[in-house]
Homo-oligomer: 480 residues x 2
């Protein structure tokens, strides 16, 4: 048993030794993805896709509670449409895939595979928005998008990825701003309460904002290794796209006006964030809300009388209270199974053998800290429920603690450079708001601005870089 | 009221006058789709997409009950991969979209946007199938695919469409055949019991089968106008792809063998089938299982005391029993609302006004036959449930009757030509099995073989075309 376990565990690189290799080992060994001959794209395998389905289910229902309606737009964008909004095309043209031929014929105009769909939504909105009575429009689509990245990593950066993109139109600037903030709140709540990933809500600097947006808000998460991950973004476009696309509505005062626009999205990148926040040297650790299997039941000495029946009964009882459960009654040894489901990050393991059975109990083991609880079978349901909830909380607390340990403060450039050279994490520092200083910090300390946090107090009055008057507190860091 | 109703109804072309125009009117007026500057592709609007979501939800859960696991494959296929299986590439190469550039750079090898994903699944299966213990593999994906069609029509034939494609691998030929038949059965059951669309299950002739398949099974539906629609297909590939892609497993007898493969799919085309089977001159008629709104509640004289409260109470009671319900308390007239929700095909309409309220009743109107029932409010839930069920059955019966009225029998070529010239519908006729006769029927009578039905008895012994010995009964017809 122990030998088996060891053998499996040895197959992953330790995270302290090589975090990047540890990550790649996990996505392969936990059967999340496979590679194909399509360079830079990934195959999302059943176990990985089931995580995405759970993410979709939760977010989709939260979206719909706020009035979102789902649609589907074409995957192609004609070049002339992509180029209608100047900032937008500059941001995306360098990284799109171009379709030039349909069957044996050359196309009159080339089409790009959507990198994002603002342009298509705007064209559609121009068709269907005529009056203030047609507003707001709060649409979303779940689809795949393509960005021709040079360097790719599963989930974090791939040429094709799955996401949702919400695109909304509003009568007033206030309403658009409120929707932008509302959707960022939906994301933050999902990250913190469902995924156990603490996030900082904040605004992107102009340099880092979305191509064409007036303001980009973000939820930023800090990974176990101290690198930051942009978890989701919500953009306020003002009227710029609407004007470029000629979208106008007749308001109640009989004047033609341009509506105010937002967009917001999260992607399969979330799965990368889960891995890098909660995973350990035995593999994945999944938050219960999105775990394809929340509880795995492993019979011990399963050929002894009554063991398999008892294991099945446990499975049925847990299914009945809505727990996603798997009973592994295969011929593999219990030790092999322990390692396998640890690798796959299953939150709770229930063990039951002849001796447990005789005592009317089972053993429940938590994936995150391997804590064992001997549970009377009469209390199975409540023990599983509270075990899942305790794990969820513990994941959050652990990640929060990691972030606290890795958050630094810098008052001047030398300090910042030293911190950045010695640590990965957030560096809190004041900023004057000038692009030059932002570029200099990148150049000198290899950090980028992650966001200007909504809920953090200023820590000084002078720019960390130039020493002039500071306008904003910025979290700086290295990012995925 | 009556005037309003008339005005709306006049906006659609009558189906008897011009079925094609009636169809296009409905997809636009019921807000199912919109066009964009991407030629041959469609925008699926919220009301249309909600139908697709309901279709997905039902089928996905049926699939999973049979052991299907969802995955996601890249949307691109390298040219060298597409061309690995000879028949397959011949079938698809003429109608694929080619990506030739990523960003500013020309690709070393062009990539097509997937028209279907057999090749990608085979490449993946070659990686992950090593032993008989790895079998069966029963994967499915929900995605969009692209086929560069010359002539397009919303839902029926578009350059991009949404679908699901199942791809499975099995240890034995028998198991693969059983899976092929099983999934055809899932489709047939869904069409008949959920959508109220009667289908004929049968096998495609070699000419009509899928490029690369050994056998293609189909569910064929007959539309209101007598044209046939291929509703879904299930293919048995034998080992041909597996051999072309070098997929081998070590069997328990220690021999390396090629696994047996199937694939099966349905698409957004189903929505076209629903429209053309059940729709009428007032618009859509939706089967309750997939209707985004199953019951619309329309208050009459809604500003009178108690009316809106009563309407809300009805909505809450129906929601509580899981009915998808909408209360329209907008300022539009009841007559306008009646027409609007008839156009949108909402199965049941509940009307409630001051007089109904005084008598503790409401009026329930069925969309299909406009039958009115005066229902005591105490019996609301059971009346709605039985109303939805009655409508479902009635849709099926009506469609079945249409098919019976439009099914003809031909014993020789002259008869068949005469029937085909005078009628649209199925023509039952015997066939020798030769491609020549099949082509001649196309040439002389403009009919194609829809399928060789599983459950129909032979009606003669001689080929309807050449008079030689007949091998199969075939349903001939004109198809979408």
């Amino acid at each position: 048993m122990a030998a088996n376990e060891k053998k499996l565990v040895e197959q992953i690189t330790s995270m302290d030794e090589d975090f990047a290799k540890w990550y790649t080992d996990i996505v392969k060994k936990a059967d999340l993805i496979d590679y194909s001959s399509v360079k830079g794209c990934m195959i999302i395998r059943p176990y990985g896709y089931a995580i995405w389905e759970n993410i979709q289910k939760i977010l989709d229902s939260r979206f719909k509670e706020t009035g979102v309606e789902n649609v589907y737009m074409p995957m192609f964008i004609p070049e002339s449409l992509l180029t209608k909004e100047k900032d937008h095309v500059e941001g995306f043209a360098p990284e799109v895939a171009w379709v030039t031929h349909g069957g044996h014929e050359k196309l009159a105009e080339r089409l790009c595979v959507r990198p994002t769909s603002e342009t298509l939504f705007c064209e559609h909105y121009a068709n269907i928005i005529k009056s203030y009575r047609d507003l707001p429009k709060v649409y979303n689509q779940w689809c795949s998008v393509v960005r021709w990245e040079k360097t790719t990593r599963p989930f974090l950066r791939s040429r094709e990825f799955l996401w949702q993109e919400g695109h909304t139109m509003h009568r007033t600037a206030e309403e658009a701003e409120a929707r932008t903030v509302q959707m960022l709140g939906v994301y933050a709540d999902f990250f913190e309460n469902d995924l156990g990933i603490p996030v900082v809500k904040g605004q992107k600097t102009d340099k880092e904002k979305f191509a064409g947006a007036v303001a980009t808000y973000t939820v930023e998460a800090l990974m176990h290794d101290g690198k930051a991950l942009q978890g989701g973004t919500s953009h306020n476009f003002g009227c710029e796209f609407a004007k470029a696309f000629g979208i106008q509505f007749l308001d109640s005062d009989n004047k033609l006006k341009a509506p105010y626009q937002t967009s917001w999205g999260v992607s399969t990148r979330i799965i990368g964030g889960i891995i890098m926040t909660h995973g350990d040297d035995s593999g994945l650790v999944l938050p219960p809300a999105v775990a394809p299997i929340q509880v795995v039941i492993i019979p011990v000495q399963q050929h002894k009388e009554g063991v398999l029946d008892a294991a099945s009964a446990i499975a049925e009882r847990l299914k009945a209270i809505g727990v996603r459960v798997k009973l592994d009654d295969s011929d593999n040894s219990p030790g092999w199974k322990f390692s396998e489901y640890e690798m796959k990050g299953v939150p709770l393991r229930v063990e039951i053998g002849p001796r447990d059975l005789a005592e009317n109990k089972c053993v429940i083991v938590r994936r995150d800290n391997r804590e064992k609880a001997f549970v009377n079978l009469d209390e199975l349901e409540s023990a599983v429920k509270s075990g899942l909830e305790a794990l969820r909380k513990a994941l959050y607390e652990k990640a929060l603690k990691n972030r606290e340990n890795r958050t630094f403060v810098a008052e001047n450039l030398e300090e910042l450079k030293k911190i950045a050279a010695e640590n990965d994490g957030y560096i809190k520092a004041m900023w004057c708001g000038d692009l030059e200083c932002e570029l200099k910090l990148k150049e000198d300390a290899d950090v980028t601005s992650r966001c200007m946090p909504f809920d953090m107090e200023a820590i000084g009055t002078k720019c960390v870089c130039c020493g002039r008057e500071a306008k904003k507190l910025v979290l700086w860091g290295k990012a995925y």
